[in-house]
């Protein structure tokens, strides 16, 4: 019983915000269907998960949206082999590339923000080359029909997204390599001194990040049957917003996949509701920005109040 209340206490801020958002969407727009928002797990949810993994490890992967666009282009190019095979090959190739990126960051000891600014442009360039500078589409239009089935209330795509989130959650919280990412993110020198292997952590974190981006981009293109060189650019901001609104700490070492899911849910309910009401995409951009700012400010003030009460408690102890 106590663990249940502790669980709710841990995610209280995000749960309250999510309930408020859902209720206000239903109030403003009665025809709103909350379960439709979950379809946005591909690409937004998995991209947010990928960003969250690197943030937990104390790093930042700005190249993830470019990676998603590259995966989309590769999937369309390879679609002659069969769509599922194309998706699998693409995700494997992109994950390997991400692992290489993580290895390079670890070996060079370079700030990942700096390195991935470069690869953001580079991978976008590769995407242009793969596409030949134009939007491309799959020849066999019927090929993407397999993605239109239904499992309960989930489509095959959102089911895949959910499975990835759950798998990552188990990996991060229950395996040694996953726990090591938290250690590297929260106190790196101590973690390395205690025997955590920093290069391995980076390879894992950036491999997962690129893999998540690839799944998001690849399945988006597989569903729509097309890819464009400048696709999914807005996913970087939306993904960061989802991860941070959910309560992942950008300083590293804090947050779980439950946080990612809650953040994703808040952002996608908001976007889906606004889109349903006929608002343009830039209106939801405004709301995403406001939410992001409010949540980080709220967390900042909560942390400050907590720190002050801790100090006054210590002072009282010292006086007693």
């Amino acid at each position: 019983m106590r663990s249940v209340s502790a669980w709710f206490g841990r995610y209280a801020l995000q749960l309250v915000v999510l309930v408020i958002v859902i209720v206000s969407m239903y109030a403003l727009y009665p025809a709103f269907r909350v379960e439709a928002s979950i379809e946005r797990l591909i690409p937004l949810g998995v991209i947010a998960a990928g960003l969250a993994v690197t943030m937990i490890a104390g790093e930042f992967d700005l190249s993830i949206a470019s990676m998603a666009a590259l995966a989309g282009a590769l999937t369309v190019t390879l679609s002659g082999l069969g769509l599922i095979v194309a998706v699998l090959i693409t995700v494997t190739v992109c994950t390997l590339f991400g692992m290489l990126q993580g290895w390079a960051i670890a070996k060079l000891g370079i700030n990942s923000l700096v390195f991935t600014v470069g690869t953001l442009v580079l991978i976008r360039g590769v995407t242009w080359l793969v596409c030949g500078g134009l939007a491309i589409s799959i020849d066999d239009i019927a090929a993407s029909d397999i993605f239109y089935g239904r499992l309960l209330f989930l489509s095959p795509l959102s089911a895949t997204g959910l499975v990835i989130l759950v798998a990552l959650g188990i990996f991060l919280s229950r395996t040694r390599w996953g726990r090591e990412l938290y250690a590297l993110g929260s106190s790196r020198p101590e973690a390395i001194a205690a025997g955590v292997r920093y290069p391995r952590g980076m390879v894992i974190a950036f491999g997962i990040s690129a893999g998540c981006g690839a799944v998001g981009g690849s399945l988006t293109s597989a569903l729509s049957g097309s890819a464009a060189p400048n696709a999914l650019e807005s996913m970087l901001v939306a993904g960061i917003a989802a991860a941070l609104v959910g309560g992942i700490s950008i300083a590293g070492g804090r947050g779980t996949m439950v946080n990612v899911f809650l953040g994703f849910a808040i952002i996608s309910v908001l976007a889906a509701g606004l889109a349903g009401m006929g608002a343009k995409a830039f209106v939801s951009q405004l709301f995403i920005g406001v939410f992001l700012l409010l949540i980080v400010l709220a967390e900042y003030f909560i942390a400050r109040v907590g720190e002050q009460s801790r100090r006054s408690r210590l002072r009282r102890l010292a006086e007693a």
Partner: protein, 329 residues
């Protein structure tokens, strides 16, 4: 006695190596640019013409001015602003509106710079509280973009008269005004960050935040100053950019933010703060513009241009990082 002397010589030798490495790091980009210009003027026939150089300088001016201002933020240890594009669009819209309404381009320009200062101050204040600058500027960018798009209805805001383009068309001995503004603003930014008390505080804060705070430097105040320097540049650059196109839309300039960040990084300012200069960032912007212009002249398609640019940024950033690491040992 001899051992002490031996270690002293060793230390001196190491200091010498360190100086050499730092010198290589400081002068590598200007030398590289010089090499690129020499090679290009031999191999690319239309390169060494007045038109090409003019185009390169004009392309450098907007990115360079913003990069020079952004350097103040990076120097103060607050990484980058990722909301450049949105703020430039906002200032551009204000310039066209106020400039058209008042019929005076100077009032329009002042209003645009003032708008940039207001949003810059707000961001500087929030970052000054101790929040992550990347997150704050990203969120602010989304808010500014959304608000600008809502107010303009997502439509193109176009100038009613060509009068508003005078800042871009005005030229002295054939060189357009934006290039002179770039030089002037870089000089001001250099003076502010290298020769004033604010600049010294910015450097110290970026170099060692705890020490700076313990020696009485206000994190809040210094961060706000850095954002204000950045915002002036951003407003000026927005006016110059919109003077060239005479119209602006919320979705414009999507690649501007990353170009500015790339210019700062390629220029060699340390992302951790405390080391670098606005002049370096402008040279970084000049380098990127030169490479792009050469590829345009040779007829390289857009996709390959992006790719080459990405390779150049990664290689330069890694090289600078390795040189810095070796030089600080």
């Amino acid at each position: 006695m001899t051992t002490v002397q031996g270690s002293a010589i060793g230390f001196q030798e190491r200091a010498g190596i360190r100086r050499t490495l730092n010198a290589i790091r400081n002068y590598s980009l200007p030398i590289l640019i010089a090499l690129v210009y020499i090679v290009a003027s031999i191999l690319v026939p239309q390169f060494l013409t007045f038109e090409t150089i003019r185009a390169i300088l004009l392309a450098t001016s907007v990115t360079g001015i913003i990069a020079a201002g952004m350097t103040a933020i990076t120097l103060s240890g607050n990484l980058f602003s990722l909301g450049v594009t949105a703020s430039v669009v906002l200032s551009g819209v204000i310039y066209i509106w106020v400039g058209s309404a008042s019929g005076n381009i100077y009032i329009g320009a002042i209003a645009a710079i003032f708008a940039a200062l207001v949003v810059g101050f707000a961001q500087g204040f929030i970052v000054g509280l101790g929040l992550n600058p990347v997150v704050v500027t990203l969120a602010a960018g989304a808010i500014i973009y959304g608000a600008t798009a809502i107010v303009t209805g997502g439509k193109v805001v176009a100038a009613q008269s060509r009068e508003l383009g005078r800042f871009a068309t005005f030229a002295i001995v054939g060189i357009p005004l934006p290039v002179f503004v770039l030089v002037a603003f870089t000089a001001v930014a250099w003076f502010l960050t290298e020769r004033t008390k604010i600049g010294r505080n910015v450097h110290l804060l970026g170099f060692n935040k705890l020490t700076a705070r313990n020696s009485g430097i206000s994190f809040m105040g210094t961060t706000i100053w850095a954002f204000l320097i950045f915002s002036v540049g951003l407003g000026v650059a927005a006016v110059l950019q919109v003077s060239q196109t005479l119209q602006v839309q919320a979705d414009n300039f999507p690649e501007l933010t990353m170009n500015v960040v790339a210019a700062v990084l390629v220029g060699g300012t340390a992302v951790t703060g405390g080391d670098g200069s606005p002049v370096k960032s402008v040279i970084g912007a000049l380098f990127i513009a030169t490479i792009t212009q050469i590829m345009v002249l040779v007829g390289v398609p857009q996709g390959t241009r992006y790719f080459v640019l990405g390779v150049v940024v990664v290689v330069l950033v890694v090289t600078l990082h390795l040189l810095r690491k070796a030089g600080s040992r």
